[in-house]
Homo-oligomer: 116 residues x 2
Amino acid sequence: MSKNRSYTPKTAADGVGAALRFLEGRWKLSILFQLFGGKTLRFSELEKAIDGISQKMLIQQLRQLEVDGIVRRTVYPQVPPKVEYELTDWGQELCPALDAILTWAEQRPSGKPEKS
Amino acid sequence: MSKNRSYTPKTAADGVGAALRFLEGRWKLSILFQLFGGKTLRFSELEKAIDGISQKMLIQQLRQLEVDGIVRRTVYPQVPPKVEYELTDWGQELCPALDAILTWAEQRPSGKPEKS
DNA sequence: CAGTATCCCAGACGATACTG
DNA sequence: CAGTATCGTCTGGGATACTG
């Protein structure tokens, strides 16, 4: 009950824009879908699971997801290093929202419509 | 029943990525939210309604939305020209999906979490 | 293993001017 | 009114090499 729920076209666009910015980045969705369902993966496991990603991009996108509060990073202080990544509770909540988008995309009329 | 509903992390990420690509572009959401609810607007009305947009960007984003099947463009052959824009049925369907995203964003824990 | 550090480039975007 | 046409900038991302 604490949020203001009346949106103008502008505030709604801004709100959704801010939300989508969390997902912007060539590899974010790939990372997210590797971690959905409560999975926990090491840096090297993500690197292997996501085809074509470089170490630079992997760490960059992970860092952004981390500061945004979507991914949690856990360091095990040992040699050789071990770092694990998993979704936060809020990050897991993304799943149904992305599913809504996916469902929408599937509804797309394929050919050129006759009318309307 | 015609769609394949089993997703791997990769195919799901690709699917959502493809869907989000329809929304990519600095002004697309602003345009969309002007047109949600079945509203029909002329080029110049959109230009006035969306603060800061240039003619170049407005037409560019509108064209993309049009070829993607989200926006419908209607030309009235008269002088001076009159062109109207409105959402397609599929475009209107975006509304609930974007609402899911917005709701997710509102759920975001604001401060630094104590635990988990 | 899990990162950093550089260099580079395509393409998205903005500013501005012009036109059927 | 509803667009085109140019030009310049900026930044996300790729390639590659190095390190605690």
